[in-house]
């Protein structure tokens, strides 16, 4: 078909190298079991705790291509399923990432699903139950998902807003994996692996992160994520002065509030 060559594949990642992932519990086994039983999976957890990395790791492990869609509040159903474009006086159908993942039997990962519009989330419902179909209304056709296809979504329950709540009808279609920030020893290990930092620095980073996580809901919406810690460690490895790196990579990312920043720098002062 003419349109097959127009398939955009840039969102598809066929993972060749093993992405580093340090398991915290039985999540790898659970995910594999879900995959083989065709159960869609919901990943929840705070930002930067390793959800996306876990997905990359699993896609590599299961040997499936993965397409990631970062949801935003203007994401429409046709952004996911596909739309007609006009090319040289003719209309042309282009599949959306979801359709492509279904056709290719890959893993579709909808990141931060709550950000998407409510009417958009409903599109995935028939795919996420035992029907495993994707109706493409505009073309009047229905795509049936092959057994290799898997749907995964993620969301961050930390933002306690009524508007950002996942509907029961959506969430009850998924098996859920709860991600947390790793325990101290593991987090130190992860930082060292990701940034090449020494044990002393990694320990300080984890200590500071712990203190910021204490301040969650006391002025911070979220504590420092593992990702931020890795950033800070990398900056320091490139020769940036630790205090500056902590500030730039962690404190300033966490908040704009001057008073909070002062508190954070006081805490930092007490650690470094």
């Amino acid at each position: 078909m003419a349109m097959s060559k127009h398939l955009k594949v840039q969102e598809f990642i066929a993972i060749k190298e093993k992405p580093y992932y340090m398991p915290m519990g039985k999540e790898i086994e659970l995910f594999e079991a879900a995959y083989h039983n065709m159960i869609p999976v919901l990943l929840k957890g705070p930002t930067g705790c390793g959800k996306t990395r876990f997905m990359l790791h699993m896609a590599w492990k299961l040997g499936r291509p993965m397409v990631t869609v970062s949801c935003h509040d203007d994401l429409t159903a046709s952004d996911l399923v596909g739309r007609y474009l006009v090319k040289g006086g003719e209309t042309l159908w282009v599949d959306g990432p979801l359709s492509r993942a279904v056709k290719a039997g890959g893993i579709c990962y909808l990141d931060e699903i709550v950000e998407a519009r409510k009417d958009t989330t409903v599109v995935i419902h028939p795919l996420a139950d035992d029907r495993r179909i994707l109706p493409v209304e505009k073309r009047g056709e229905t795509l049936a998902a092959p057994p290799e296809f898997m749907l995964t979504i993620s969301y961050n329950p930390g933002y306690q807003s009524v508007l950002k709540e996942l509907k029961q009808s959506t969430r009850q279609r998924f098996m859920a994996l709860d991600f947390k920030y790793p325990p101290d020893e593991l987090e130190i290990e992860i930082i060292r692996h990701e940034s090449g930092a020494d044990a002393e620095l990694a320990k300080k980073l984890v200590m500071f992160a712990g203190k910021t996580r204490n301040l969650k809901d006391r002025g911070l919406t979220e504590g420092a994520s593992t990702r931020l810690l890795v950033h800070a460690a990398r900056l320091i490895n490139s020769g940036i002065e630790p205090a500056k790196a902590f500030e730039a990579a962690i404190s300033f990312s966490l908040t704009d509030d001057t008073e909070m920043l002062e508190t954070l720098s006081e805490i930092l002062d007490s650690i470094l």
Binding site: Y84, V86, T91, T263, E266
Partner: protein, 817 residues
Amino acid sequence: MGNNHPPGEKPRECISSLPERPGEKTRAKKTKAEENNRDYACLKDELARNLGFNFFEEAEIEALLGEIEAFGEMSRKVAALCLQLSNTSSNLVERTLGHIRRARASLPEEELGAWLTRAFDLLDSSGLQQAVSFISKSDEADLERFKNKNPGAVKLESISARLELYLKGISGMDFRIRASGQIIENPCYTDSSAIYLPERLDVFCGARENLLLYRLMAAHKWAQAAEGTLAPAFESPSPTEGQPPAMDAAKEASDPLERFFSAFADRDFALDLYNILESIRLDSFLKKEAPGLFEKAKSLRLQLLEGRSVPDGLPQKEKDAFIEGLFELYLAGGAEKAPYKVSTDGELSQKEIWRKARGHKCAGESALALFDLCRMAERVFPHERYTPANLLFIGRIRPDEVAREAFEKQLALQRKFEGTVTKIIEMPDMFPQPRGTGKKTRAPFRPAKPGKTYLLIRGKLLELEDDLLEKALKNALPGGGPVPGGVLIDGAAAGGRHVYRLSDFPFEDEGDKTYDEASGQTGGKTKKTFKYDEWDYRRGGYRKGWCTLYEQDVHAGHGPFVEQTLKRYGGYVTALRNKFELLRSEPRLLRRQMDGDDIDMDAMVEALADMKAGLFPSGEDLFVRYERKERNIAALFLLDMSGSTKGWVNQAEKESVVLMCEALQALGDRYAIYGFSGMTRGRCDFYRIKSFDEVFGTAVKKRIAGIEPKDYTRMGPAIRHANSILAKTGAKTRLLIVLSDGKPEDYDAYKGDYGVEDTRKALIEARERGLHPFCITIDKEARSYLPHMYGAANYILIDRVRKLPGRIPEIYRRLTA
């Protein structure tokens, strides 16, 4: 009306109440200077009247007023201060004026202003006694100290919030910061939940160092609380060393720490020695938990060490010198250069003691070492009594405070437990099934453990989740204690039965939360407490933390008020809904877009036709896109629930609320409804009728029916609280709509100009925070103060109460369209 004022009515016999003045009608036109003069004039009038009440002669009053006059620019502030004092006793006025006169002789103008402000602050925060004692310190030397105040001095008040946050971050524990009220005797201590620190620190020249010292103090107290300094647990000491004082008593007393220390011959000596021993031990804790702070504190400690000079060389008594030497060794971190090396025999060598203390693993070891050291000290320094020294940032342990806090905690826990247990008893079949098929619990089977105590009640075992609780219940049970029918038994006697926990039961945390109420952190449905500043126009400054506001739910009313109202306004409601639905923004179809959800067929056909005709297509805008323009509005309705609204006004307010709810439901804007009333600054009530996150359901409807007139109208704190609620919504347009029926007024001095000015200030604050306040006043006459109070374009006057429900949706529509 008798002696007690009916709510909302102006209390007449209150001495300081302002009379209505003839000039009021024209005030809006007057210039600011004239206004000031007039304020000043009536301050003087009031003062004169107060003095008159206290049988001052006309001439005397004249003389006093003349004296005030002589203060020139300051005279207004002085008059305000005198007036406040004269409310208590007119005799104070004379004395105070004398002091102010003396102060003026040695203070420049602006310093005098600051000095007076400090007096006002003290009056507000600590009461008359403190203020008067501050004013009476008008000697040259005292004022010199006030004048030469260190620019680097740090006030606790200005940093306590940040310090609390800092502690929360670094320790993960919730400490409250309080002023210790003492500077020399005992600058800082903790009762394990609150940390008491000096009101201001000017030990160092730089603010940075003083702040660091505050942090060091706080961290030291945190270490004490976290590391068990305040509750040393120890095995009885080695018996060979003779009988240690009253060990068993110490274990069982309700005030174990005090018992422990008072068992020593020289209590104060033991107390300070123990504190230093523990501080030496806690250094390693601080080094581990806050390495940066510890490092920075090192140089601070050395500076403190250098500044520590005892006037006459060594302390007089050897015992004092011994403590001083040990403390300085601690400050120096064990370094040799400590100036005091008390030459005693090897037994009491401080270096040795320091070395040993560093090796202690827990508070119990320090306590044991304390026994030995005290015994030796008795031998080496016989018949000497220790004079407590100022131990700077390590302060002095306060066994009484620790005991009080422990008792309060225990009491709170006990009350909560009793409350829950009573409910369990009252409700049959309240015990959830363990391992049952019922949906209620999936709790795993928990067998009773021998050696632990459980409460046996109605044949079921209940876990006591806290040692404190166990202690409290042991005192109360058995014998018809607070939990009837309950017995405490040991786990061994329970024969491995299933143990329930309080958390197994659906109700919890509704109980008494008094002991952490002050922090304003209580969640759930209990009252939340907030403190707000109030504007005092006379002194041109805020009274800090002046009003205490309680946020709570309105008691649900009975009767179908909402339904009846809807029926009564029948057709109007339908029309209203339609009108508001029109305002609602539907997703709009945008045509001829570069990119979009679907193809714009018209554009497409046109373009194709153009191309076929050999024309250049008019554009590539061939798509349609849905765009949803959202109304990002949050509106908060604030209802006056004062006693004066009784009758039609209250009825009209309630009906307005119902109609507004209907309209806003149709419109989809976010809205909240609150009411306010109260009596005096100590009890400003703020009633929740509907919060932003609640839906307009049965609970809200019941609360609307429950809106009823309460007490007085103190508008300032209510508006300030509404401000902070609205500010949190994050909506683009934030609207505060206040419904009231007249002048702000409270039982105390909050009336007349004072109330008007505070309300005006609160509304200005709202505008500064980016809110749009709008006031609807129900009054028959257009009062002259209204434009001044609300701001000319920000209010509307409704002269007939019956019109209100019909008008309010219109007003809202106009405001938001």
